[in-house]
Amino acid sequence: MRKFFSSPTAVVGTTLLTIVLFAALFGPLIAPFDPQEFHPVARLQGPSATYWLGTDQFGRDLLSRILNGAPATVSFGLFSTAIGVGVGSVIGVIAGVSGGWVDSTIMRILDGLLAVPDLLFTLLIVTVLGGGMEHALLAVAVAFTPGMARIARSAVLSVRTRDYVRAAVARGESGFYIVTCEVLPNALSPIVVESTIRVSFAIMIGATLGFLGLGAQPPSTEWGLMVSEARQFMFRNPWCVAIPGMSIAMAALGFNLFGDALRDALDPRRSH
């Protein structure tokens, strides 16, 4: 652990992640204003003593809106990744463990799905399901599944040829024991690392969907939607697009840095 925090990546990543997770958990409780409350006299203001981060076109307090939007944005990233990773890992592990024609068939289908860019895939699914936060979440999860399956499979494959797995095969262990006790514990860390980094992508895609009007719907305080709603007024008060934009970047950066630091810490070959 001490070693983990010796890298600046880990320190900055963990700090950002703590802030973001704190906002996601307690944001609505500590917000100074009601996020939907109009302050007609204080519209499109910059930061001030009353409104720390300024106000939007209706005079709503940006800080309160950001804090209220944090749970939606962060949980979107976490849940969509969790579903995508869960389903993808199961598929990938099945492919990697069974090998042979099962593996080839699954891989060919995944190759096909991976040829469709993530965002395009998500857009198609959202269109099929109809917009809204839950559907967008599901769409991102589905779009993530092939990529995660591939990573899980290669993690399993790289472990499968290790001597300790061969030793288990030579001992005559059951397939179940080999997968659960020898392969999975050792294949887990690349999957965990990749999922952490994927959360940042999920947050970004979720916000993008909100921005395009296909994700969260008004009057939600989801950050992507906030940027979209404030766009008309951005020349009059840049703060109202910059604040939610930067919040998204901060959340994504936190997960990204933390994932990278985790990878360095878990992979002795990469540590310098």
């Binding site: 001597d163 300790y164 061969r166 030793a167 005559g172 262990e173 006790c181 050792n186």
Partner: protein
């Protein structure tokens, strides 16, 4: 070439000829998280013109650090704490990196351990030799290539011109090492450092490279520092030797002197650990011999072409599958130790995999009266009775399980002992392989290489098998550890009566242990003989070549061994 027994002359101004390399009272440390770690301490070493000095030590002895110090190519965390390194009287420690650029490759060169990683994979071999000549000799491209061709020819490459246009991956390991050597000799340097130049090569290739080295040394009168862990090998190429242990030179002197009358304890220990075919370690041969396993026309085809491939690319399909082993007939007797010897790719490990049930095979396996014709036909009782120990203990122990869990697994899997007695049995097994009982609570990464291999052996013997297959189990270990592991195996064999198939490339070692030796070459069994018949004229030509290629430590006379004991 004269071997001087007199103490090395000091390089006072009065001495007429300055030594090619003089290291005086040199010390080196590395900065680490836990403070300064000493790598080399008060090193004194002199290489006279035309002389070859051997530097012998096990891993971690600091022998590679010595090479980097001389080449002035130290990592940023290196701290030099005094001394002098002089090349023909010039103090290298005073030179800047820029000045060293002109010396490296031109006056000093280096030959590395692994030729497959020390050549640039995306550059043609010709350019890799020529660039040195262009840099240091100021030759034009055409001149440099002509020179490079001559340099390659000198190293015994048959078609040097063709070799110039090849990429490294198109050359064999031996050819690549010749290229590296040609590059090192290209600018006719005063000093060449050889860092384990044959370790990564096969037995026969290594022998050829060694001969080449001796030939070039005589032709060019170059001075050389020859770094190796292999005492037997060093005794064949050097004039004087220094033994390095934990960064300190514990003994140095003429080769014969050091080997015949070693003074330092460590040297004696090292010499004692070198496998000597004349020193029998094994157990008594089983009498009368009874067959345990019979391999009947066993064959393994790797990358067998699919039906689809046969249909559309019959030409490719023909080449696609190659036989890792073909028509191997062999028996293993109860209680014996059968040595299987061969170079890499000879099929010796393939046979291990077949026996351990890890490889699909053609042919028939007869085990204690039971006849098995495919990998799927191998049942759990066979798997209990035949255990496998791998080459790399780092890889064969699951890094996420404790030693106790690892050793207990076969006990639980086969129900060798009742559940409540498992932990007691684990302790016994640890004791059997001479490890403390509290190791059961450790993880593999907390153990040294030799200790890990003992754990792997304990796991194999936990199943109380009839046959243990040892696949190069000592190859990844240091000389002294290697000897201890081999002795442990023999002891366990003596105690349990288990038969053992010992797969190795080390002929000297196997002649100390095995009752019978099988020789494999290109997937085929070419020879099988009793240990005593190793030197018989009836041996296969390939066996003879192998036996001739290994440097039998001639200078390690038996008397040395007895004085040690």
């Amino acid at each position: 070439m004269t071997v001087s027994l007199a103490p090395a002359p000091t390089d006072a101004a009065s001495s007429k000829e300055k030594p090619a390399l003089a290291i005086r009272n040199y010390s080196l440390s590395y900065k680490t998280d836990s403070g300064l770690v000493t790598a080399l301490k008060n090193i004194d070493l002199t290489i006279k013109k035309g002389q070859t000095i051997g530097l012998v030590g096990e891993s971690g002895s600091g022998k590679s650090s010595m090479a980097w110090s001389v080449m002035r190519y130290l990592p940023p965390n290196a701290v030099e704490t005094g001394g002098a390194i002089r090349l023909a009287g010039e103090e290298l420690l005073d030179y800047t990196q820029r000045q060293m650029l002109d010396i490296r490759g031109s006056r000093m060169a280096m030959v590395f351990q692994d030729p497959s990683t020390s050549l640039n994979p995306t550059m043609r071999i010709g350019e890799q030799i020529a660039e040195t000549l262009m840099r240091h000799r100021g030759l034009s491209k055409i001149e440099a290539f002509a020179y490079a061709e001559a340099a390659l020819a000198r190293t015994g490459i048959t078609r040097p011109k063709e070799m110039l246009t090849r990429y490294p991956h198109e050359a064999s390991g031996g050819e690549k090492q010749r290229v590296v050597i040609a590059t090192a000799f290209a600018c006719e340097p005063e000093l060449i450092i050889f860092d384990e130049p044959t370790t990564a090569l096969d037995i026969l290739t290594a022998r050829q490279i060694l001969d080449l080295f001796n030939q070039l040394r005589e032709e060019t009168n170059v001075s050389a520092l020859y770094i190796s862990h292999d005492l037997g090998l060093v005794s064949r190429v050097v004039d004087e030797v220094s033994v390095l242990h934990h960064g300190v030179i514990v003994e140095s002197g003429p080769v014969d002197e050091v080997f015949r009358r070693p003074k330092a304890d460590y040297t004696r220990q090292l010499i004692g650990a070198v496998p000597n075919p004349d020193r029998w370690l094994g157990v008594d041969a089983p009498n009368p011999p009874k067959t345990l396993v019979k391999l009947d026309a066993i064959g393994v085809q790797y990358g067998a072409p699919s039906k689809f491939q046969k249909m559309f690319w019959p030409d490719d399909a023909e080449k696609a599958g190659y036989w890792g082993a073909k028509d191997v007939n062999l028996t293993v007797r109860k209680g014996e130790l059968l040595g299987v010897v061969g170079e890499s790719g000879s099929g010796k490990s393939t046979i291990a995999k077949v026996l351990a049930g890890l490889q699909d095979f053609h042919g028939k396996l007869e085990f204690d009266g039971q006849s098995i014709t495919s990998r799927k036909g191998i049942d759990k009782s066979y798997r209990r009775r035949v255990q496998l120990v791998f080459q790399h203990p780092d890889a064969s122990l699951n890094p996420r399980q404790k030693i106790g869990t690892i050793i207990a697994r076969p006990l639980k899997l086969y129900g060798v002992v009742p559940r409540e007695k498992v932990s007691a049995r684990v302790a016994e097994l640890l004791e059997m392989v001479r490890l403390p009982a509290d190791f059961a609570h450790r993880y593999p990464h907390q153990l040294s290489g030799g200790q890990k291999q003992r754990v792997a052996i304990a796991r194999a013997f936990a199943a109380e098998p009839d046959l243990v297959i040892c696949d190069e189990v000592t190859a990844a270990l240091d000389v002294s550890v290697q000897a201890a592991v081999a002795e442990l195996l023999v002891k366990l064999q003596k105690d349990t009566g288990t038969a053992c198939v010992f797969i190795t490339h080390d002929l000297n070692l196997i002649r100390q242990l095995a009752h019978r030796i099988a020789v494999m070459h290109h997937g085929k069994l070419v020879d099988l003989f009793d240990r005593d018949d190793a030197r018989s004229p009836a041996r296969d030509a390939y066996t003879k070549a192998l036996l001739d290629a290994v440097p039998v430590p001639e200078t390690l006379a038996p008397e040395t061994i007895t004085t040690e004991a």
